[in-house]
């Protein structure tokens, strides 16, 4: 029996009156690394906004561990989100950014919070950056700090928006390894929005691929398997980085 942590049923969404996806349904297995794929403009990032509850669906249903995500409800978050640029609070140091959810949602004393912050930053390789402001960090470091903040409340599920975008290859590989390590060691579930093929094949255990033209999910499964066996020219073109031949 499947153990799905995220369930999306018959979701239709778009913005400014334009429909991006129609009737999308999929599930994310607990403890997996799940990738949301597709060409630019197909609605990946918009779908992520719905998954984390920043936008509420009018058609269809999303549940995370049986609950509908809604950021208007002021309750302890059950998942963490890392935004594309890290989205750290600019006026707070890296350590204060990570401490923020702990101060809000736990009754821990300051010395204990400091200990957890230090451990989380060490986990993402930022032990020396605790007192720095976000503006003093590189793009990769900001993302690492973003993931440390997202993990502060020990969520079982993490959403990552374009984790490898804008990173140099070495930092990108290190980031992929960090995701795999957190997945294997802590059993965290990751939902990753990306179109970095190298990263997809390295970390993605299952995926869905959104299509802009048909406004639907055109592929689902193991990305490596889809790359090697898919007969759909759109899927083949995406995974093998080839030009899509349009019939005359």
């Amino acid at each position: 029996m499947s153990d799905a942590i995220v369930k999306v049923e018959d979701l239709s969404f778009g913005w400014d009156g334009a429909l991006l996806q129609e009737g999308a349904s999929f599930e994310v297995e607990r403890g997996s690394i799940f990738a949301l794929l597709g060409a630019s403009g197909c609605g990946k990032s918009t779908l992520l906004r719905y998954l984390v509850g920043l936008d509420l669906p009018t058609t269809g249903r999303i549940t995370i561990d049986g609950q509908a995500p809604d950021q208007e409800v002021n309750d302890r978050p059950t998942f963490g989100v890392m935004f594309q640029s890290g989205a750290l609070i600019g006026s707070l140091t890296v350590g204060e950014n990570v401490a923020l959810p702990l101060q809000e949602w736990t009754d821990l004393p300051l010395d204990a919070i400091g200990g957890i912050v230090a451990a989380k930053l060490r986990l993402v390789g930022l032990e020396r950056a605790e007192d720095k402001l976000p503006s003093e960090l590189s793009g990769g470091m900001r993302k690492r700090a973003g993931i440390a903040r997202a993990m502060a409340l020990e969520p079982e599920l993490l959403f990552l928006d374009e984790p490898s975008a804008g990173l140099d290859p070495v930092t990108g590989v290190e980031f992929d390894e960090l995701i795999i390590e957190l997945n294997q060691q802590l059993g965290l579930t990751f939902v990753v929005v990306t179109h970095d093929l190298e990263s997809i094949f390295k970390i993605g255990q299952s995926c869905i691929m959104l299509d802009r033209d048909s406004k639907s999910i055109i592929a689902r499964g193991d990305p490596r398997h889809l790359r090697d066996t898919s007969t759909d020219p759109r899927v083949h073109s995406f995974f093998n980085r080839t030009r899509l031949e349009v019939p005359p």
């Binding site: 600019g90 006026s91 004393p109 200990g115 451990a119 402001l133 409340l153 020990e154 390590e181």
Partner: protein
């Protein structure tokens, strides 16, 4: 409900002890866990050993593990030997992930910054800011000269839109504010003037004070709050977002492309807004004169035209040009000097408004003294 964990301090000798942890350790119960750990480890002193015995831990999450690793580091720094022992395979992996089996690094002590050091840093920061301001004005002059030599190189497209935002959009607030301020001033003086039977002098008072002082000053304060803040925030956000760098790489110098159109727009709209403010102010005085001092409309207007010279209006307009130049340059300089994130945008915007207001008052005072010395 009792906690899902249990901790016991077991001493095998006077200097050997173990904290035996059992059950489920998670962040949800981190508060009581931390309190209990602190209570039990408090007696450990330098030279002793206090290990974490983990064999009966059924479940532990990252938050709880982070706390244990933090406590181990603190014990090491106090000279108490401490390790994680007898952990199962899964728990051991987590201990490793959180550095619980690493050598504990010495804590770097941060020295407080001394008074002289702080004074030195503040002086350097002021000098650095002065250098930036000087460089900005230098660049501005060079860019203006370059545009004068080759007018087609300026970004004229931005001029009408900026004039609309800074000028036309500000008309309602400027007219209403000046009307009300002059009305209030006329009311304040009406009683004194009536006492001496000098009702008609309210036209002199309002006409001269509004055209020479109140009109340009009120316009400058309102434009500073509206457009000065907007310029600083807009350029600051562009700087933070990397848009200024992008413009530079495409060959658009920020002076020529962003600062000059804004400065020119304010220089052009400020006299027009001041004229409107003068008219609104005189209208406010007229209302009080007719309604409260029983003057006729014709009488009030005749007295105003007789007493207010062209030079009175011109001094106000000249000052308004200087105010516009100062507001625009200060706001743009502060916006372009933004470094860092959203916080600095806010700081620079505030700074732009405060420094502009100060500059307006300084210019106004200097102009008053100069005009008086010149007998104008």
């Amino acid at each position: 409900m009792p906690p899902a964990f249990a901790i016991a301090l077991v001493k095998s000798s006077t200097d050997q002890g173990q904290l035996r942890l059992a059950g489920s350790l998670c962040l949800a119960e981190a508060g009581p866990l931390w309190t209990e750990l602190r209570r039990l480890e408090a007696s450990a002193v330098t030279g002793e050993t206090l290990d974490f015995e983990m064999s009966e831990v059924e479940r532990i999450d990252g938050g709880a593990m982070a706390l244990l690793a933090c406590l181990r580091s603190e014990l090491h720094r106090r000279g108490v030997k401490s390790e994680f022992v007898a952990a199962g395979e899964r728990v051991q992996r987590l201990i490793h992930l959180y550095g619980g089996d690493n050598k504990v690094a010495r804590l770097r002590r941060r020295r407080p910054i001394g008074t002289f050091n702080q004074l030195g840093r503040a002086t350097l920061a002021i000098l650095q800011e002065l250098k930036l301001v000087t460089a900005f004005f230098g660049q501005m002059v060079v860019s203006a000269a370059s545009v004068l030599r080759s007018p087609s190189s300026a970004n004229w497209r931005e001029l009408p839109a900026t004039m609309e935002r800074a000028g036309a959009d500000a008309v309602p607030i400027i007219v209403v504010t000046n009307f009300l301020v002059a009305l209030a001033m006329a009311f304040q003086s009406a009683e004194q003037l009536a006492r001496f039977g000098a009702n008609i002098l309210v036209a002199d008072l309002i006409g001269i004070s509004v055209t020479r002082e109140l009109g340009p000053l009120m316009v400058a304060i309102l434009v500073c709050g509206r457009s000065g803040a907007a310029f600083a925030a807009e350029l600051g956000f562009m700087q933070v977002n990397g848009e200024i760098d992008a413009l530079r790489t495409m060959g658009f110098g920020p002076m020529r492309y962003l600062v000059l159109p804004r400065t020119l727009a304010l220089i052009l709209v400020m006299p027009l807004l001041t004229l409107l403010a003068d008219l609104a102010g005189i209208l406010g005085g007229l209302l009080v004169g007719v309604w409260h001092l029983e003057l006729s409309v014709r009488g009030f207007l005749n007295q105003t035209v007789r007493v207010v010279s062209l030079w009175d209006v011109s001094t106000g307009l000249l000052k308004s040009v200087a105010f516009g130049l100062a507001i625009s340059m200060i706001a743009c300089q502060q916006g372009l000097a933004t470094a860092g994130g959203a916080e600095d945008v806010g700081r620079r915007t505030t700074s732009a408004v405060v420094v502009s207001l100060f500059a307006i008052i300084m210019i106004d005072a200097a102009a008053s003294v100069l005009f008086r010395l010149a007998g104008l």
